[in-house]
Point group: C2
Chain length 719, copies 2
């Protein structure tokens, strides 16, 4: 049954198509133009029109839902309501409409007659030919139906239509969300915490998956013992549930973090973890599915099959990674070596197409498109965005922002709707309670032990309150839902789907809504800018004050500049570091130097000219690959006045190696930099404060790097 | 047969769904999640994967095509190549790939066995049940197939897949193109020539449709006489062909006009005509289809059915118009009365959703979505865009620009591909030659007689060379193709499709490529800015020179300020006008005053405050409806120094009532205005020169209007 379900899932995957246009082209079951010829349809025109209208009305429902959500979000933002995030709101509206659709509208049907039937002895095939007095008609398999449903095949049509194909989520709605996550990644904090993020994402998700899987297997056994479960529910099903429910999505929490300017490192940890663990969960769940047929009838644990599964996991993951990175690199090269930046429209279109083609390329090669898109996004942000014209940088960002916004809210309002319109829910109280307990245990066994291990190696420890916050921020969202809805063929899967839906509701509403109180309660610092003018127009270039709420300044300001110091070659001043730490630092340094000296100059207009980083015998090649703009940039960077930044306090606890108290230092340094001129700020006033800050920090970093080769430290300016 | 074809077309229309996501949901023939239960599929996993990959590869083909097109377009723009437009280029690449797909790749198939067949006595229905040892499977009709094709049902699968469903064009690719056309309409020139545009679009397209239809009926009779035609080809088919081929699409010509800054009025005439006649052609063709069943077996001309058809035409057209305008108005109201402009992302998303919902709403009500989207675009540009934040204005514009660009190039490269991959081409030399002759005659009988009639009423005549240019610019493009591919069930329709494709190729390549030589040959003025700096950054705010190529300045500068003069109440100075002219001016004046005094203030933040335009007893209501920003704007407009513009020469021959020679006047006026200050220019440097100019002209117009009430004419400044 499971093998069949699996095959059915694969078939669905293939049949429904992977994306936007193509899904249309191929999947459309109707009459294709090229079926052409003398197609005779007995469906009357009126019926067809009716169905067409019904579809329009259905989609209008969703659009109205989204419109309503947008208006309410505005109201909430306007009134500074923080207890309910837009995604939670979208779900509530979805629920309401779901209730109306389910109970408010009588299940009308415009076509009540039982369709003709015919008998065959062989099993069903995907295509069937019907011979009617010498004429042949081609039919495609839609699925098996229950005998009791035969007489209302077309009844409840509306509900069926509203509950649409799950592959839509995977192939249309998730890619823009995931790409945007990768593209809008705040590089500095992310790369600084890369090791921890990867640990949480890979090891943590694996732990969570196995813990939840095993606990749920216990729950399933209990259910069977109590007589609550008669259907099949294998161990691999439990593991699968563990995998899908391990994909965290703290979108609500992060939105509030963003608004409150909560700690950058905590933000990076949470965001990075959730982005990466989506990728891990999707590959993990498909490895588990791939593992199933090997486990054949037993569906029990089997060492060789397990390692095969791990191999599959690594293969798919690294393949997708390479695919995504490669597309990003190609785009970077194309945008570098053409003067496409004179035509922002062409540039944006190219960028969009290349990013999209990653998805296709990965799917065509049998890898995971969504994962490839994530890494493509990161690569594009790291390299390509340096080559784009200023206008295109904005355009692409905005384009993906809009797509991401729409897709996300669509998924969440769909979730609300699905609770009532999905017709195969299995509400099993024991399973649901078990799952709730399991995800907390799973999350706890992910965060606390790993944090302990990581703290052994980290110089700026992940403090207890950060760990509690990470534990608390383990919300489930779009990815868990998309994975759960992907296959609901067996009753086990239906039970999982229902449970996932409830977990998403609960975590988004309760944990999402509780973020602000939790931050205060855990004494996690967040600063709100006291400078009022800054909020509207970023005209506030003078001194800033910021308030830190309930935090010990010394603790918060532990020096954390390791990555940078290491890069400068004097990271090994601190002898108390463990070997692991040094190795990872060495690896990281190697990569960073390579990236900065070779990759960036080759792929982008920024970075030092290759002529200065490559050995002299590579001269001609180097000057051929270095763009004229790189020289300009390089010259500009040598000028100490060009690229100074606001956020010096932040810089202090990033790059500074000595612990200084915040207030004194930040104020005085703000004065010092404030006096040096703000030549670049005028240009950037269009962007939002967040990204401007980020970009300035990045450019500061660049500047420091190029100055670092002369060993001029920012501190020296100050002293 | 035709009735059946018609029903089939309607069924296809319904089945394939109208848009993006929804098409997916519903049309997807595969296993829906909620078909759920115990779906058993015999399609093996491997097969499914293979098909999935094949699809990815197919779509990658299109993406690569588009990428290649973009890169070549860049090269062409870079090198200033004008003989081949991007759309022509996309077609060439499409052709090449089509040849490769058709002849280069052996028709492999992963599934060669003949599918099982079963017999029934009754006719085919849309749904079929298959009973296999007690289990029921649901099948959907895909279409009839020829007996000889039974053994390779799945062969040539690739070609079939590449040639995808025509409804995709209608429901996904056309709406953004049409919306963008409406949204980017250059209002001033468009409204100034509104009467002429409507005449060409409605009357002209009808003339063209009937002329072509009748000529083609002659050709068909000839073919039958020669023995070239054995299949059925009714008179209504000929009329249908006339309707679809009457949709002009001078995208190539207009791109060159834009680049060369060719005459604004000619641009407006061509652009306006092509936009409106797309709408007319689509409604006309569907009215003709609706007329067919009434004509039953005769398919001959029948007065009552004809008037019914006209009624349908008017009903659909006005319904779609109202629908589109209504959505635009609602969006304007929502954006006015909320402070959504603080959150550009929400604003953009709302704008996008509302514009999209127009399409759905119209389709749900049985009107034409594409037409509704056009008028929605115009309304959004006229009202809503005044309420959007500066960032959203840009965002929405850019979003639709990118969508439009991608959709258009996709259609054109698909056209190239279709010439080889579409499998039911019927190349009939007589029909093709006849069609080429007919479209020229049709176009000529549209342009010349109507121009003559219009010139009776117009003060600035449409000169002979303009008429020749309009004749020459009668290219066929995306809309003709989309209408032709929509139904290719009968051999008549297949013949039309092939012919349409060839006409598109010919006109885009030959006429599109010949635009620049033709402009010179016809002595139509185009100016290229001599101010070099202007081209890069719009930093050039001083005096401008522009060169006019081969034109008599007096002739070009005929006073054409009627609309404005009439508005001021002294338009009837000129006694030589015909009555029609005065009536239309009266209507136009009425509308303009109403729009300016009531609609704009109610719907947007601009225009005079309602408190000043509404009678005093409406005071409370007026002040409630007027936004605070309107007062601010109003104050600003009273200041004569705020909103002066560059393009005074243009203004002269728009608003000036006395004929003055260009050079002297423009130079001196440019001096005069140049001295008054350019307070607004700094803000606008981000936009392209064209739109900035347009916007400035519009604001100038507004200013003049508000000043006009005090009867302060621009001339007075100068004197």
């Amino acid at each position: 049954m499971d093998a069949l379900g699996n095959a059915a899932s694969a078939a669905r995957r293939a049949r429904t198509m992977l994306l936007l246009v193509w899904t249309l082209l191929n999947a459309v079951s109707g009459l294709k133009a090229d079926d052409g010829g003398m197609v005779e349809e007995l469906v009357t025109e009126k019926e067809a029109e009716e169905s067409h209208r019904q579809d329009s009305v259905n989609l209008l429902t969703f659009i109205s839902l989204l419109t309503l959500t947008i208006l309410t979000i505005w109201l909430f933002k306007h009134r500074r309501v923080r207890f309910l995030h837009e995604t939670g709101l979208a779900m509530i509206y979805g629920l309401l409409v779901g209730v109306i659709l389910r109970y408010g509208i009588p299940a009308t049907s415009y076509h009540n007659k039982t369709p003709p039937s015919c008998s065959l002895k062989e099993g069903p095939s995907s295509t069937l030919l019907l011979n009617i007095s010498g004429k042949f008609f081609e039919y495609t398999l839609k699925g098996e139906i229950n005998f009791r449903e035969i007489h209302n095949v077309e009844q409840n049509d509306m509900l069926r239509k509203v509950t649409f194909d799950p592959e839509v989520f995977f192939n249309i709605l998730l890619p823009p969300i995931i790409f945007h996550a990768g593209y809008s990644l705040k590089k500095r904090h992310f790369f600084r915490n890369l090791g921890s993020i990867i640990t949480y994402a890979f090891l943590g998700t694996a732990i969570s998956c196995f813990v939840i899987g095993n606990l749920m297997y216990g729950v399933v056994k209990l259910m069977r013992a109590v007589g609550q479960l008669t259907e099949k529910f294998y161990y691999t099903d439990c593991l699968f549930f563990g995998a899908i429910i391990s994909a965290t999505d703290p979108v609500t929490v992060l939105a509030i973090f963003n608004e409150l300017h909560a700690d950058g490192d905590l933000y990076a940890l949470l965001f990075g973890e959730s982005v990466m663990n989506d990728a891990v969960a999707i590959v993990l769940s498909s490895s588990i599915v791939a593992y199933q047929p090997a486990g054949a009838n037993t569906h029990m644990f089997d060492a060789s099959a397990f390692f095969k599964s791990v191999g599959i996991f690594l293969g798919i993951f690294s393949g997708s990674f390479v695919m995504g990175a490669a597309t990003g690199v190609v785009t970077a090269l194309v945008t570098k070596f053409t003067k496409l930046h004179c035509f922002p429209l062409l540039e944006t279109a190219l960028f969009f197409l290349m990013s999209w083609s990653t998805f296709l390329l990965a799917e065509a090669c049998g890898f995971t498109g969504v994962v490839a898109v994530l890494f493509c996004g990161i690569t594009q942000a790291h390299y390509t965005s340096n080559n784009l014209s200023e206008e295109s940088t904005k355009r692409t960002k905005q384009l993906f922002e809009v797509l991401h916004f729409l897709a996300e809210n669509f998924i969440f309002s769909y979730m609300g709707l699905a609770l009532f319109t999905f017709q195969k829910h299995i509400f099993s109280p024991i399973f649901i309670i078990g799952a709730f307990v399991a995800i907390f245990i799973g999350r706890a066994l992910n965060i606390y032990p790993l944090s302990f291990l990581l703290n052994l190696g980290r110089r700026d420890k992940i403090r207890g309150n950060f760990q509690h916050m990470m534990m608390f921020a383990g919300l489930r969202g779009a990815m868990a839902f998309a994975l759960a809805i992907r296959d609901t063929a067996t009753s086990a899967r239906q039970m999982m789907f229902t449970t996932t839906l409830l977990i998403v509701f609960f975590t988004v509403w309760v944990f999402g809504g509780g973020t602000t109180p939790m931050l205060s309660w855990l004494h996690i610092s967040y600063r709100y800018w006291n400078c009022k003018r800054f909020q509207d127009e970023r005209r506030c270039h003078g001194k800033w004050e910021y308030s830190r709420v309930g935090v010990d300044p010394d603790q918060d300001l532990q020096p954390s500049g390791d990555s940078f110091q290491v890069l400068q070659g004097d990271g090994n001043q601190d002898e108390g570091q463990s070997k692991t730490k040094q190795e990872s630092a060495w690896l990281f340094r190697l990569w960073y130097t390579f990236d900065h000296n070779y990759l960036k100059p080759i792929l982008t207009h920024s970075g030092p000219p290759l002529t200065s980083t490559l050995p002299s015998y590579c001269g001609p090649l180097a000057s051929c690959l270095t763009s004229p703009r790189a020289y300009e940039n390089h010259e500009q960077l040598r000028d100490p006045d060009t690229d100074l930044i606001h956020n010096d306090a932040d810089l202090t606890f990033t790059f500074g190696d000595t612990a200084i108290t915040t207030n004194g230092a930040s104020a005085s340094r703000a004065d010092a930099t404030g006096g040096l001129g703000w030549s670049t700020n005028g240009k950037r006033s269009g962007s939002t404060s967040e990204e401007a800050l980020e970009r300035e920090l990045d450019s500061r970093e660049q500047e420091l790097l190029s100055r670092g080769t002369r060993l001029v430290f920012p501190m020296e300016d100050h002293i």
